[in-house]
């Protein structure tokens, strides 16, 4: 059995760990609120954007002449995967879930004989992927310095993607991120952004007769790159809300576990203290008896 001193030290150390996790939980909770807010505020933009694109693509009669970003290159040999993770750890299964999802997609691709290219956004994803897929990672982007997800960063990522697309370095582009459902549930998502898959929701479909100025093709050519940055931005917002949510619940669990541990150690401490007292008493009594 550990000595009293050791136990005391352990209790103190667990308690200070608990303090840290508790503080981290509070910080995550505050950040989560902000991230959730901005995710909600960003929604109208991406919804409207989607709606307009839907209307435009319905209006295009000749799919052959449609911009390549919409119709694709006609091949599906080279896949580019954008894996979006966080820059910081200690957020439970947040990063591992995305990586798991991405890895299963990667192995599916390689079993189909497709070529794979990876861009990682966020350093944690890069750390986890570089061991196995290191040779496939063509770029690693990290926004450690920006405090919140902002559109400017999204545009940077988008620029890289579009440049590569124009150089025909890939045919299909998919982004991986966590969708925020609630604090304890984040759903890893794979979303294809090039060529664009328009989600046609029959109920909400509102295709009107629009006047286009200039014509559909030209608007689409201008709009599609913007849509990609919008999608990436949306993913970034969802991701940051998810990250904070995951961290909050992870830290909550850690705080609770630390509490349990302190209780257990305290009982053990008290017990050994009592045992020591009893032992001393017995020694005194038997000493006195022998006199």
């Amino acid at each position: 059995m550990a000595s009293l001193d050791d136990l005391k030290k352990r209790i103190a150390s667990v308690k200070s760990t608990q303090k840290i996790t508790k503080a981290m939980k509070m910080v995550a909770a505050a950040k989560l609120k902000r991230a959730q807010d901005s995710a909600e505020k960003g929604r109208p933009y991406s919804e409207k954007m989607n709606n307009i694109i839907l209307n435009l693509s319905e209006g295009i009669s000749d799919i052959e002449s449609a911009p390549k970003l919409l119709s694709g290159t006609g091949k599906d040999q080279i896949h580019l995967c954008i894996v979006m993770t966080s820059d910081r750890g200690l957020c439970g299964g947040f990063n591992s879930n995305i990586i798991k999802k991405a890895k299963s997609y990667f192995s599916k691709l390689s079993s189909e004989g497709k070529e794979l290219k990876i861009i990682t956004v966020g350093s944690k994803g890069n750390d986890q992927l570089k061991r196995v897929f290191g040779d496939k990672i063509i770029e690693n982007i990290s926004f450690k310095n920006s405090k919140n997800a902002n559109f400017f960063d999204a545009e940077k990522v988008c620029k890289i993607i579009i440049e590569k697309f124009q150089k025909e370095e890939f045919d299909i582009c998919t982004i991986f991120f966590n969708q925020f459902k609630n604090v304890i549930t984040q759903i890893p998502q794979a979303q294809q952004i090039i060529p664009l898959k328009t989600e046609t929701d029959e109920n909400e479909k509102s295709v009107d007769n629009y006047e286009f100025e200039p014509d559909e093709d030209e608007i689409l050519t201008n709009l599609l790159p913007k849509n990609i940055s919008t999608q990436i931005f949306k993913a970034m917002l969802e991701n940051s809300a998810s990250e904070q949510g995951a961290r909050m619940s992870a830290m909550d669990n850690a705080t609770r576990n630390a509490g349990e541990m302190v209780d257990k150690l305290t009982i053990e401490y008290n017990r050994s203290r009592q045992a020591a007292i009893t032992k001393e008493l017995i020694e005194i009594i038997s000493g006195a008896e022998s006199l």
């Binding site: 409207k48 307009i52 999204a154 629009y210 006047e211 608007i219």
Partner: protein, 130 residues
Amino acid sequence: MGEEFKLEVVNPEKSFLSREDVTEVVVPAFEGEMGILKDHISIISFLKPGIIKVYSKSTEEKYFVEDGIIEFKNNNLSILTSSIFNIKDIEKSKIVEMLRLAEEETNKDSISDQVKFLIDQKIEVLKSIN
């Protein structure tokens, strides 16, 4: 009443402006300025750098935009843009800075004609408000 319609300006981070009492909006559409009144036909267009003028019965406001898409439908005008600000609120120094960057950009050889055209537009507009 009767001549008013709804205007909504959203940027990726938030809803920038939402008003129900505008009577006329003039936007710098790609092929020239376009004034929109109530009961305009449904239209989708995109913007070049310029000034959006928003008129209501009593007020007139001007906003600078760099790019964007507009959609008008059922007397709802939505403007999606990633860069917009009220001309009233912006500081002179920022305009000067933007001008400097834009001028640097336009002198590069690597840009395409269309990009150059857009930047020149931007410079012109910035100069006019400066």
